[in-house]
């Protein structure tokens, strides 16, 4: 199998991997927390694209054993996995966004370099209050 034809036949896998790396680039280099979560979502959808591609068949009918459809069927297992994965992705994203809202409200900014400059809120809270409500 010449290199070009193996590249051509694996194009779906290659695109999924390059999307994974693009998402990783966004997650790692952007200073804005919301942008990081968008990058995380791109990585997640790229892994789902990879898993669905493993279950694909050329001219494959969807995994529906209805009367009208024949021919090779796409494998139903990856579809079930990705359905579960998509819903996990939404859950993690919404938790991340609520945390971002709380960070914005309590630390004032969602830019990592701005938050880092803010005084270490933890130490000051530790020293200031004595008895009574534990800061913890």
């Amino acid at each position: 199998m010449t290199v070009v034809s193996s590249l051509a036949s694996h194009i779906d896998y290659l695109v999924a991997v390059s999307l994974f790396l693009t998402g990783a680039w966004i997650l790692l280099t952007s200073g804005n927390l919301v942008k990081k979560v968008i990058g995380l979502n791109i990585m997640e959808t790229s892994v789902f694209a990879f898993i669905v591609t493993t279950g694909m068949v050329d001219e494959g009918a969807p995994p529906l054993v209805a009367a009208g459809l024949q021919g090779p069927f796409a494998s139903p297992l990856p579809h079930a996995l990705v359905l579960t994965g998509i819903v996990v992705a939404v859950s993690v994203t919404s938790l991340a966004l609520v945390l971002i809202l709380r960070i914005k409200a309590e630390l004032g900014s969602v830019e990592l370099d701005e938050i880092a400059l803010a005084p270490k809120a933890d130490d000051s809270a530790g020293q200031s209050n004595q008895r009574g409500s534990a800061d913890e």
Partner: protein
Amino acid sequence: MNKRKFARVFTMALLAALAAPLMYGVLELPPPGQADAPAHSNVSAGYIEHGAELAGSENLVTGVLLNFRALDTFGEVLVIFTAWLAVSAVAGKGSETGHDSTPPSPVVDYVVRLLGPFIAIFALFVIVNGHVLPGGGFQGGVLLGAMLILLSLALGRESVADLVPVRSWIWLRAAGVLAFSLVALLGLPMTGYLFGLPIEPALRHALMIVLELGIGIGGGAVLAGLYFAIAGVESS
């Protein structure tokens, strides 16, 4: 500034170093689309041949989700409920100052009121016909959630949140987990295995509908709840 520049260059180098083995490794996999690849000839071949009558659903994906790998879907429904639980446990003061910015234009308002019921019907159709057509609990639930968010965007968040009293919002959100637990425990006397669906087609069909409705309504209520928490609605 060069600290940021150095970090970018370092990340670029790291990702480039990661890209080579990833791409090469993926190229060694059997090419997608080949019918005789292991992905199709092993377990999936068994699902395709006699999955339909064994699981009682022509849509094999729903058969896999509700019957063959029921524990996965139970875990999944639980992740959804945990996400809502986590979001409402963590939502701090910041998200309470939800302000309804500009009221939507009459066009949006009218279109959403017109579309709302049809989306709801379509979502229920997708939920209930999960074992015949592409669709099922998750797809319908997500559509239901999207509709509730659309309505709250147009008609104002409080009105949709007050659609259902607070106490029952939680029971709605736990519908998926409760439906699954019921079917799992029922599976014990009927099939001798937890999460087992009975063999008789009629009873199995009924239980699958119960599961689909639970997942769909539970998923939709949770997704709406996630939006309410982020948009700052003090509903739950």
